[in-house]
């Protein structure tokens, strides 16, 4: 994956969040404060805009800058977590001008680590991670098994979406939804939807 492809990928994430703005508002209005559609579309748009000129050849620095911009633009729970994910991915990939398939796997694993370290959530806590990590795991497995990145990403996207759908089996323990306790179980987690949407946008190239 070269710089143009990485930037295009950020562009697709931005676009999918814009397309799903009302859907995310809808999901968040059930459990939270209705802002997720705004923060995700504004945030990923600003992340993309900050690097779309292609002036930054270091792909690590590029991701870090995108994250930093997003954090300043939309410092909500998910905005900050996504920023932390991008910045961590940037740190891990610092110095690279081109990404191998393994690097792409590292990118998403670092992204997940950045989110997990700041948010301190575990899998099954009904968060972003539950709609993201199933995708990452499948991606890593696919790449390790030697299938094409394209196909691995497509499988990852499907796994991520299944992960998101599966959040209806979990009780929220973080954020606004947590105050609902057991009553949160039947609801789909908005942050997990974002995780699944990211994987979907990444796969669709």
């Amino acid at each position: 994956m070269n710089q143009q492809e990485l930037i295009a990928m950020l562009g697709r994430i931005s676009k999918i969040m814009e397309e799903n703005r009302d859907y995310l508002i809808e999901l968040d209005s059930v459990v939270g404060d209705s802002d997720l559609g705004l923060t995700m579309s504004d945030g990923f748009r600003s992340a993309y805009d900050s690097v779309s000129d292609g002036m930054e050849p270091d792909l690590g620095k590029l991701l870090y800058k995108a994250g930093k911009t997003m954090g300043n633009k939309v410092p909500s729970t998910m905005g900050t977590l996504m920023a932390a994910g991008l910045m961590r991915a940037g740190k891990v990939l610092k110095g690279k001008m081109e990404l191998t398939d393994k690097d792409v796997v590292s990118l998403f694993q670092a992204y997940k680590d950045g989110v997990a370290d700041l948010g301190k959530a575990k899998l099954g806590d009904k968060t972003f991670l539950d709609g993201f990590q199933p995708g990452i795991d499948r991606l890593a497995a696919g790449v390790n098994a030697g299938i094409s990145l394209e196909m691995a990403l497509q499988e990852a996207a499907d796994a991520a979406w299944a992960g998101f759908e599966n959040t209806t089996s979990m009780v929220a323990v973080h954020g606004r939804a947590a105050t609902r306790g057991e009553a949160s179980r039947s609801l789909r987690d908005p942050g997990a939807a974002v995780g699944a949407l990211i994987m979907k946008a990444v796969a669709k190239r």
């Binding site: 508002i25 209005s29 939270g32 404060d33 209705s34 802002d35 559609g37 705004l38 923060t39 954090g71 300043n72 633009k73 939309v74 410092p75 909500s76 729970t77 905005g79 900050t80 977590l81 932390a84 700041l118 948010g119 973080h174 954020g175 606004r176 947590a178 105050t179 609902r180 306790g181 009553a183």
Partner: protein, 339 residues
Amino acid sequence: MKKLMNDPENYVNEMLEGIYLTHPDQLTFTGNDLRCLVTVTKTEGKVGIATGGGSGHLPLFLGYVGKGMLDGCCVGDVFQSPSADQMLEVTKKIDSGAGVLYIYGNYNGDIFNFDMAAEMADMEEGIRVEQVVAGEDVASPPAKDGGKNTRRGVAGIFFVYKCAGAAAASGKDLSQVKRIAEKAASNVRTIGVALTPCTVPRVGHPGFAIAEDEMEVGMGIHGEPGIRRGKMETADQITEEMVDKILKDISYEPGDETAVLVNGLGATPLDEQYIVARKVHQILKEKNIGIHRCYVGEYVTSIEMAGLSISLLKLDEELKGYLDAPADTPFFKQIKNGE
């Protein structure tokens, strides 16, 4: 949704411009960023106090920046946290060598960003920062044994500001100001009732629906679900349920003293707030709990939500002293008795 506004994208910044134009002798901003408010009167050697959080709650947060209360405040978009960079900017401006205390509500986004700002202030600027996270909504679940506070921060943070602000103004050092803020935070309890939803300007429609004859007891100030939804009841019945929930959560002995805050959420007239205040007085009198001070009005709102909250702050002599101290901010003025 009918709002007196221009482009919803500019809602917060235009509101802030109005604030600066109206209160030039009390408030200004730093870092070329309207959303980084600081007081114009910096006191050398005083512990700085900063707060922050999403917009949509006026007079919270920025309204309490001023003498005897806070020194700085960052605001985000409606119901959104400000960023760590913004908080760092305010921190740098208000520190006068005695360190800075962050007081903010127990929300994910705010915690993440204040945490990051505190770390940057320490690492990059060598400013000592302490934090007190306020969360006292008895309608949200209490901490699991030994775990961290899981309650939402709502109107009770006003009392934390008031006591910590008075302590800092009296010259106490950072650890003392923090101790007093924590004491206030751990002795305050709040519960709200919502009658109508509110609309985030950029979203353009209400965050939830509530029938014309229904109310929701325990709803949070961003529309977070409460304890129960039910048919409207009389003010006396609702007040009894609310005060009861608070008194089940924190023990008061006969003879104890408390401060009361009856807080309108936006669209509920002052008349109704006083009708509720009346009942709070009656209930507490019956239980022989003394009311040292009672505040009634809009202190922490949810845009244009109808409803109100009740907060009780359990007092000791130390907190009483700080509560009684004068204050002068754009939105809260307390004149010392006999002055």
